[in-house]
């Protein structure tokens, strides 16, 4: 079972990569772009029988290792 996890910076935590890309986009004339946030996309394959179990496991793994709760939040894509 494949689970997709998205990890992003918490709101309020500065994302220097996102800010740099934002600045460049605005320089290119995209004045309507007012924020860019760069995160991580992680796919994991888990040997379990149900979707529910897979998502539960994914949340557990994310909380323990894939994301740092001090600076990041995560969600499992449905």
């Amino acid at each position: 079972m494949t689970v997709k996890i998205i990890v992003t910076h918490k709101p309020g935590v500065l994302d220097p990569q996102g800010q740099t890309v934002l600045k460049n986009l605005q320089q290119l004339g995209h004045k309507d772009v007012h924020d860019v946030r760069i995160g991580k996309y992680i796919e994991i394959d888990i040997d379990v029988s149900s979707r529910e179990e897979a998502e539960k496991k994914a949340l557990e793994i994310s909380d323990k290792m894939l994301a740092n709760p001090v600076i990041e939040t995560f969600r499992v894509e449905p």
Partner: protein, 236 residues
């Protein structure tokens, strides 16, 4: 005085630490591999700099799950002295032994140069040997050295005098406030609540030899040795 220096896959300052502690300062060093389950009765532990596990996921995020970290955590919880330098600092934050986190430098650049540091607390087991020095010069070399924590945590660190080192320059165009990586409150090093765990981005082990014209790092290690010697004099 016995130091344990931990080597993770991707550590690259372990040999510098071993050199400084053993050959320059004359202490005994146990070289401990990350897979080991023992700190070999060391009096203090050093987590060296480098790029453990390639800094994959986040700096220090994977090293923190190395088998030896269970020992290091137990050692720290019992009051053992643990020093994390650069990547070692990142590992200590990831392991929850120190609050906050270290993220990409605000400049997005790897910064490698000497920095002036103000010693903010000279009554720790890591700084007691810095007698009257207000400022010391140590090298930094990192991409992920921007220390961040929420405002409440930062206020607590200041209140409890847990900020041990603060960046003080030198003033350069890329760091007009003397803060080379954008760290909150210019924090370069801090201790845990009990005062026995220090994380710092600058490298004291690279500033221990007169022939390098840099000796300001020595005090960190001699302070630790003195603290350990004093503890041994007190009967348990």
């Amino acid at each position: 005085m016995v130091f344990a220096v931990i080597t993770f896959p991707g550590s690259n300052c372990d040999q510098d630490c071993i050199w400084a502690l053993e050959s320059v300062l004359g202490y005994t060093v146990r070289k401990v591999f990350h897979r080991s389950g023992s700190l070999e009765s060391a009096d203090a532990v050093v987590l060296p700099g480098g790029f453990s596990y390639g800094d994959y996921l986040r700096a220090g995020a994977l090293a923190r799950f190395s088998p030896i970290m269970e020992e290091v955590t137990a050692f720290a919880r019992e009051g053992g002295i643990v020093l994390g330098i650069c990547n070692g600092f990142q590992i200590l934050c990831e392991a929850g032994l120190l609050p906050g986190a270290l993220v990409r430098n605000r400049s997005l650049k790897f910064v490698c140069r000497d920095v002036l540091l103000r010693i903010e607390n000279r009554s720790t087991v890591f700084t007691s040997n810095y007698k009257n020095e207000q400022e010391i010069l140590l090298p930094i070399a990192h991409s992920d050295g921007q220390y961040i924590a929420d405002a409440e945590t930062l206020d607590m660190l200041e209140r409890e005098k847990r900020v041990v080192f603060r960046y003080r320059g030198p003033i350069r165009p890329d760091a007009p406030d003397g803060n080379p990586n954008g760290s909150a409150r210019a924090i370069a090093g801090l201790i845990n609540e009990q005062g026995n765990v220090l994380g710092m981005m600058p490298h004291p082990e690279r500033a221990c030899e007169a022939s390098f014209d840099r000796t300001d790092g020595t005090g960190v290690f001699t302070s630790i040795a003195e603290a350990v010697a004093n503890r041994k004099m007190i009967p348990a």
